[in-house]
Symmetry: C2
Subunit: 320 residues, 2 copies
């Protein structure tokens, strides 16, 4: 089953807007709370019960042809939409709470694909404690599909970018590179790790890796620091090696530049970095953690720790 | 200036993603708070200061070719995006607080048009006390543009649908019909009225008119009541008459069915309806208020008050 269908009876255009919304809400399942917190009103009405100091808010989309292709299953596309957003919340150390889902559907979108998509959205949401409280559906041109999720989370202490200090150690979770061979459709946001990191005073700044280390690192450290990266320590995904064989470039170049890793990249105070790493490994024995560099006074550049030369390659720029 | 340009130097594809975001943030102006509440992080970090009982959450989009056409100014398109969302908040009686803006841009979108769009978003937001705290930008195919806004508001007492009672009187603000002759691009959401209505105990249910009275009325009253509508009382926009001359239909048919009125439709307890109307007119001397019918036990139908026959016409269904 692919995203678009030529069978008239399977097209979303065959059902009324009301029925379409019913089908989506039903597929979202228990992630969707009842009215008035859920669908059925002009707005979702959410009782304010969270005592946390901060509400943490983000929005992200998946578009066919850009974030997945039309042969991708609804399950993987739906999961990617939710996990992309959750990865941003993870980077801020926030607990997911509620979300709104906006769908733009060409008339030839396959109803069964859409059900699978909404089921996956519901399942990924529930796994993370996230509710899908409402949304909107619009018709667009045939052969097109996009889905946007806006998410609210809560946190008592937040992690942000541009708050690192001189000598901080640079850490990354998981592995990097070659994401487009599969990882980009099959990852889980590091929600638990992010929540835990936000409670560690040794952690000074954090971001998630979506555009590639070389592009995300400068936004993490800000304009007054440089990051020295030890290329030999980069944790490389097996796919980074596979893709390097095809591209003729080095695996570490893919690890630096490919994007869509959805791992956490963060800074830890130098003095506490060893004890921090031990503590992390105790809490998350199955999450790889690697110290890949350190922070120096500088001008917002990522440099090779050996040569001190800035890396010149670009990340995964949407408009580059 | 229209939405798309053939001049290479004016295309959004000419600037990097970072510059594009800078341009948008700059155009949003003071509606956009500084980091970390505003752009620059993985999420917007919003201190929880609102003591209201409910957070009220909604999401809505504008798409070229659907909600405006490519000759429409960025100013009117941007305003429409914000006011559409605010109209949903108004229907819930909520005070606008913060929002996220997601843009999907074809490479040939005109940068100056986009600036005008973002300026208008910022201006409409500021007028209503709404901040644009973050967002996302994606590239899509040439000749396409969509913008989605998700909004959070707050309320101590909310208005909802399906909470009316037998004998309630049905009221509507403003005038109806013919919106596509201009009103749909040039309206202001009834935020002040909605906030005030939420504080009147006589008001039992409320919605905003986006899909046309005949379609929105059943969702307002729910499945256990009917609404008897007095056609002679329908407040008709001059454009409803103009468009009726073109369509060969009656002006009241347009008032019932056209959609995009963005007026408030609500129910008031019968006993208090006269004093309510006096109070409303005192508070909002410039907002037309009309009692157009009443609620009876029934099955979710809108009926003609004279003949008691259900109206059979459909509203402005997105997928109909």
């Amino acid at each position: 089953m692919s995203l678009f269908t030529t069978q008239k009876s399977r097209r979303v255009a065959q059902v009324s807007e009301e029925n379409l919304i019913e089908i989506i809400v039903h597929s979202l399942g228990r992630a969707c709370p009842p009215f008035p917190a859920g669908p059925g009103g002009d707005c979702a009405i959410i009782p304010q019960t969270e005592k946390a100091r901060y509400r943490v808010s983000t929005i992200d989309s998946v578009i066919v042809g850009r974030h997945f292709d039309s042969s991708c299953s609804g399950k993987l596309a739906g999961r990617k939409l939710v996990e992309r957003n959750l990865s941003d919340l993870a980077a801020s150390g926030a607990k997911p709470k509620d979300a709104l889902l906006s769908l733009m559907l060409g008339p030839n979108v396959d109803l069964d694909w859409l059900k699978e998509f909404a089921q996956a959205v519901g399942q990924s949401a529930r796994r993370a404690g996230l509710r899908i409280n409402g949304g909107d559906v619009c018709q667009i041109q045939a052969g097109q599909f996009s889905a946007t999720l806006s998410v609210q989370g809560f946190s008592q202490r937040v992690l942000t970018r541009t708050t690192c200090r001189k000598d901080d150690r640079l850490f990354v979770t998981g592995e990097l590179g070659g994401s487009r061979l599969g990882h980009h459709l099959n990852f889980r946001a590091r929600i638990s790790e992010g929540l835990w990191l936000a409670n560690q005073k040794a952690v000074t700044a954090c971001t998630d890796l979506s555009d590639g280390l070389l592009k995300d690192l400068p936004s993490l450290i800000g304009k007054k620091y440089d990051a020295l990266v030890d290329l030999e320590k980069l944790p490389m995904r097996r796919a980074a090696h596979t893709i390097a064989q095809q591209s003729g470039r080095k695996a570490w170049q893919h690890a630096l530049q490919d994007g869509e890793d959805y791992e956490l990249l963060f800074c830890v105070k130098a003095k506490e970095s060893s004890s921090f790493a031990r503590k992390f490994k105790k809490h998350f024995p199955r999450t790889r953690l690697t110290e890949i560099g350190l922070i120096q006074v500088g001008q917002g550049l990522a440099r090779d720790q050996k040569t001190h030369r800035p890396f010149s390659g670009k990340g995964f720029g949407h408009f580059a």
